[in-house]
């Protein structure tokens, strides 16, 4: 297994773990944690391709990760603000109970 393959496999595993967390768990915060994990998996992919791919001196992958980390921070802030707001309205962070628009 080449180093790139192992990096990509780790990233894929991380992604599906995050996806599973986002899809399966009922708590909104765990869903957010899952999303963070998925973003991190994507970051790992960028770094791996920057490191083992061609044109590494252009730093494109690295820059992508820097911006992605910034976006992830913003996303976490807004996401948590949404969860807190949601909790304040319906007193729960359980996404199964947020059904007021499902008819």
């Amino acid at each position: 297994m080449t180093p790139l393959t192992s990096c990509l496999l780790l990233s894929a595993l991380l992604f599906v773990i995050g996806l599973a967390g986002a899809l399966i768990r009922r708590n909104a915060i765990v869903v957010l944690i899952g999303i963070e994990l998925m973003l991190n998996a994507a970051n790992l992919n960028f770094i791996a391709f920057w490191r083992y791919g061609p044109n590494s001196e252009a730093l494109t992958g690295m820059m992508f990760v820097i911006f992605s980390i910034a976006v992830a921070a913003a996303e976490a802030a807004v996401g948590l603000a949404l969860i807190i707001s949601l909790y304040r309205h319906i007193k729960t962070a359980n996404i199964d109970e947020v059904v007021s628009m499902s008819g």
């Binding site: 899952g34 920057w50 690295m62 820097i66 911006f67 913003a74 802030a77 807004v78 962070a93």
Partner: protein, 164 residues
């Protein structure tokens, strides 16, 4: 060798983060996953990214999540089930996605022809790239962060007439 250790650490942290019942525990496991990932970045020669990962994810995002958990007072949810009602379908979907990705990685030609160039990014290069070639994205990210900051404050602010 080191890569394997850090990969296992990361995956263990990630699995614990989404499977533990206690939310604070799962955030602490998440920081473990972040730290493992930062170590992997350092191993791959991305020093700046690895340290930024620790600074932003452990120092800011994890703390933010923890604060949110404490604010909504649901560290240990009382509900008997941790999973959504439609979890079977989700598991199948997740497995299918992983299968597809693993298959793609295994079969892809790009992994075979990876050059493995040893070029490391110095801080000088990163700074130059950020200030010259990527100056516009940097500005936009700054704008985005400001917008997110204001947005988050606006959303989380107590609405009028909602006082306790």
């Amino acid at each position: 060798m080191l890569f394997t250790i850090f990969a296992i650490l990361t995956l263990a942290g990630a699995v614990a983060a989404i499977s533990l019942r206690n939310l604070v525990h799962s955030v602490l496991a998440l920081t473990l996953a972040f730290a493992g990932l930062a170590a992997v970045y350092l191993l791959l020669g991305a020093q700046f990214i690895g340290l930024a990962q620790i600074l932003v994810y452990i120092g800011a995002v994890a703390i933010l999540i923890v604060f949110a958990i404490l604010l909504i007072r649901e560290a240990e949810p009382a509900s008997p089930s941790m999973v959504v009602s439609s979890w079977v379908g989700s598991v199948v979907a997740v497995l299918v996605i992983f299968g597809t990705m693993a298959w793609a990685i295994e079969r892809s030609a790009i992994t075979q022809r990876a050059t493995g160039s040893q070029a490391e990014a110095s801080m000088q290069q990163i700074g130059n790239a950020l200030m010259l070639r990527f100056a516009l994205p940097l500005e936009i990210i700054g704008l985005l962060l400001t917008a997110a900051l204001i947005g988050a404050v606006t959303i989380a602010l107590r609405e009028k007439g909602e006082g306790r």
